[in-house]
């Protein structure tokens, strides 16, 4: 790799550890089913996540149909409605978004992007997926038990979540809690791998400040998850004991249907604290990988280095740290010391600073750039718009005084769907269009991709933008039906019908994406190793798709950051991370 013109001081340091010894699969089963290869595990994770994601999408139609045509569809009674709301929320947040960003993209991209042969502990990485799969099966199996899945809302607040009035109180809630505990166990095994691979298994020359922002985002999210999931783990275990053994951790003395329950002296607020100690970091566990991916998409497709790379990294870390101490803003109306409200409002609003910094840097990256409007770029731009939109309403809700009247209205639904529903999903689509050529060796159809983008982007706006208005009117979320409500005008019902029709259409339009995904497997144009002419390491593998061990005989050596686009004096408009330095180059 070394070139005669390379100055001595840029030569990479010698290797500190011997190359790893890989486990080589001997049969089809160990190669593709019980696989220890992070790339196969990534596909398994993403496939499972997308499958349950489709289930959650269908459940959202159930919710929308009821809101638009209350009582018109016979099978949607109040129980089914609440069960759909609960399962839609929990699946989308935990089993889809978290799993696909960390388990899917994390597994595929981390080893390739930092120049490792695999995750550091492939066996445990494999276990991580299988425990995750069991967790999803346990969750979905609740549909086949008497009473069906729980209808407690995705927050599972006690006391109502385990009392007899709630749908699925027989088995649904138990299966939900067991499934979450399993998910956390599985995630911990994977998360340790992601974090340690980034910290301890980078290739020669790959410093932390030369990692693509995708890796930074996933790394920070994995660290947050390792610290935040314990809160949910403990909350689930204690709620499970309250439900099954009759302990009273969260259950106060209460009378239900004229009958005094055996519960005595527990603290429901404690559950809310534990839940949101996980729940708020969870937002950033989903958002930080999206931030990272979008930075890379914008840089590659605008042929320009990311603006303010170091600021971007520190912003990710700042958001991660602040994100751990803001959970109380979900509990403004739960009853809290006003000083806590003050503290949580200040920390919440402070997050706007590093977040806005990232948005400015994305925009400045686009400034005077050579923008290619490819499908991944369109999705990245779509993310920018929806994220800014959802972020600004977050400032409204972060203020205690504004939050109190808006709490539990559709305004909140609109806010979090914009900021952590639509925005990350747009990034996932963009990322799939972007890395599909590396994973399969073929391009996805650009024309279908653009149609898919415009329908999804405009459709998502049409669905969630009017919801802000409904929320400001005071229309409550979670309600099965509104009945005679004086403050909600009749036009709101019309708006609800419009939203539902668009939601159904946008949902069905996702079949364009799946058609494209599967058709391109066989019929896509051959991609070659680096169709986007990207500089980061995953595009420099000797084979496409990358083989077992990723790098052939010799691990790559890294000489620069992953954003060397349009470098003056370089032979092409990009310099791969592992290309020897060119004379006079000043890449970090």
């Amino acid at each position: 790799m070394t070139d005669a013109s390379v100055p001595q001081n840029v030569a990479p340091p010698p290797a500190e550890v011997a190359d790893v010894e890989l486990y080589h699969a001997h049969s089809w089963i160990t190669k593709y089913v019980f696989s220890q290869d992070a790339k196969v595990i990534a596909i398994q994770y993403a496939g499972t996540a997308i499958t349950v994601g489709i289930l959650a999408l269908v459940l959202s139609w159930v919710i929308r149909l009821q809101l638009a045509f209350p009582g018109a569809i016979p099978f949607i009674d109040a129980s089914v409605y609440y069960q759909s709301v609960t399962m839609h929320g929990m699946i989308m947040v935990v089993y889809m978004l978290t799993a696909i960003f960390l388990g899917g993209f994390g597994n595929y991209l981390i080893p390739l992007m930092v120049g490792a042969r695999d995750m550091v502990f492939p066996y445990v990485n494999m276990l991580s997926f299988w425990v995750y799969l069991i967790a999803t099966l346990v969750l979905v199996s609740s549909y086949f038990f008497p009473g069906g899945p729980t209808g407690a809302g995705w927050t599972l607040y006690p006391p109502q979540s385990i009392l007899t009035g709630t749908p699925g109180h027989e088995y649904g809630i138990i299966l939900m809690l067991v499934s979450l505990i399993l998910f956390i166990v599985g995630f911990t095994m994977g998360g340790l791998n992601y974090v340690v691979t980034v910290l301890q298994a980078r290739t020669r020359g790959m410093t932390l400040m030369r990692m693509p922002l995708t890796v930074w985002g996933i790394f920070a999210a994995a660290v947050m998850a390792l610290l935040a999931f314990p809160g949910l783990f403990v909350a689930c275990l204690m709620l499970l004991l309250d439900r099954t053994l009759g302990t009273s951790f969260f259950m106060p003395s209460l009378v239900e249907l004229g009958e005094r329950k055996d519960y005595v002296g527990g603290s429901p607020i404690l559950f809310q604290h534990l839940f949101w100690f996980f729940g708020h970091p969870e937002v950033y566990i989903v958002a930080l990988p999206a931030f990272g991916v979008v930075s890379d998409l914008i840089s590659v497709h605008a042929r320009k280095n990311i603006f303010g790379y170091r600021m971007m990294v520190w912003a990710i870390i700042a958001i991660g740290v602040l994100g751990m101490v803001v959970w109380g803003h979900h509990m403004y109306i739960s009853g809290m010391d006003p000083w806590f409200g003050f503290f949580f409002a200040v920390t919440t609003l402070a997050i706007a600073v590093p977040t806005a910094l990232k948005v400015y840097n994305w925009v400045l990256t686009l400034w005077h750039a050579d923008i290619h409007f490819t499908t991944p770029m369109l999705f990245a731009l779509g993310f920018l718009v929806t994220f800014v939109n959802g972020g600004i309403t977050g400032l409204y809700l972060g203020n205690v005084i504004v939050d109190v009247p808006l709490s539990a209205t559709l305004f909140v639904v609109a806010h979090f769907h914009m900021v952590m529903g639509i925005a990350p999903v747009l990034v996932i689509f963009g990322a799939i269009y972007h890395w599909y050529p590396k994973i399969t060796g073929r391009m996805m159809d650009e024309r279908l991709g653009k149609i898919h983008f415009w329908i999804t982007f405009l459709g998502a706006y049409a669905i969630f933008f009017p919801m802000h208005y409904l929320g400001v009117l005071g229309m409550p979320r979670r309600f099965y039906e509104m009945g005679e409500t004086a403050f909600v005008p009749a036009s709101a019902a019309t708006l609800n019908i419009v939203i539902t029709v668009i939601a159904l259409a946008v949902g069905f339009a996702q079949s364009i994406f799946f058609y494209n995904l599967f058709k391109s497997l066989k019929h896509g144009a051959p991609a070659g190793g680096n169709p986007w002419r990207a500089a980061s390491l995953e595009w420099q593998t000797p084979e496409t798709p990358p083989g077992h061990g990723n790098w052939g005989k010799q691990l790559p050596v890294v000489y620069r950051w992953p954003y060397a686009y349009s470098v003056p004096g370089a032979p092409e408009d990009y310099l791969p991370q592992n290309a020897p330095p060119v004379r006079g180059e000043r890449s970090p």
Partner: protein, 242 residues
């Protein structure tokens, strides 16, 4: 398709670990590894322990919360946790023995690590077995204590001595800790067997992982074991002394 891994020639033998804050900055600004001198396995165990610390912290903080928010009086620990020996009630005697037992096991574990690095396989394996024995004895005494409390009428959902949350928190937290000790005992036995047979000298591959192990696993095992002991000190302080 599959590339045979090659051992790079440039592997440094010099430790790259530097002391002081400057050294730390240098390590984290460098390539390849952020924790110089630590293998991935050791780093992974440390990070797992940080995560596990959060689990136990959540348990203990929840316990403190329910203990403070319940309206019924909390049972008196020095009476509940007393044993009658020779017609006299001795407070906290069992728990004193259990704590002594567990802290002793930390000592034998540390010695096992030392002998493992010195390649004194027999001594290392025997000391690990002794550690496992102390761990098993701890779990046994815990079972004895649970039995005694259950006989006296303490249940997860209530007890005759006061707040119902006493039994709930006690069984949940000591149970979760006892589960950690049990897992540790199982892994100690597995590693002790491997050390005894000399698996790490001949490069025998692990049954599940298909990887060659190293003597470092004894130290990693020790990290876990010491952590479980440390957690016990906190549980001991918050449950029995408060």
């Amino acid at each position: 398709m599959t590339a045979e891994p090659v051992t790079t020639e440039h592997v440094t033998t010099e430790p790259t670990l530097r002391s002081s804050l400057h050294g730390m900055v240098a390590d984290w600004s460098s390539d390849q590894r952020s924790f110089k001198g630590a293998s991935w396995g050791k780093a992974m165990m440390w990070i797992f322990l940080v995560s596990d610390t959060f689990v136990f912290s959540c348990f203990l903080i929840s316990y403190m919360t329910v203990r403070m928010s319940t309206t019924v009086e909390w049972p008196h620990p020095s009476e509940i946790f007393a044993l009658e020996i020779g017609g006299k009630k001795i407070p906290l005697i069992l728990i004193a023995i259990m704590t002594f037992d567990l802290i002793t096991s930390s000592g034998t574990m540390a010695m096992a690590v030392n002998f493992a690095y010195a390649r004194e396989r027999r001594k290392a394996a025997i000391l690990m077995l002794v550690t496992a024995f102390f761990g098993a004895a701890f779990v046994g005494m815990q079972a004895f204590e649970w039995t005694k409390l259950i006989h006296e009428g303490v249940r997860p959902w209530g007890n005759p001595f006061g707040a119902a949350q006493f039994g709930s928190s006690f069984f949940m937290i000591t149970g979760f800790h006892g589960f950690h000790v049990s897992i540790g005992v199982i892994f100690l036995l597995i590693v002790a067997r491997a050390v005894w047979r000399g698996d790490y000298d001949v490069g025998r591959r692990g049954f599940f992982t298909s990887r060659k192990g190293r003597y470092e696993i004894v130290e990693i095992m020790g990290l876990y074991w010491h952590f479980v002991d440390l957690v016990w000190v906190f549980i001991f302080a918050f449950f029995y002394l408060w």
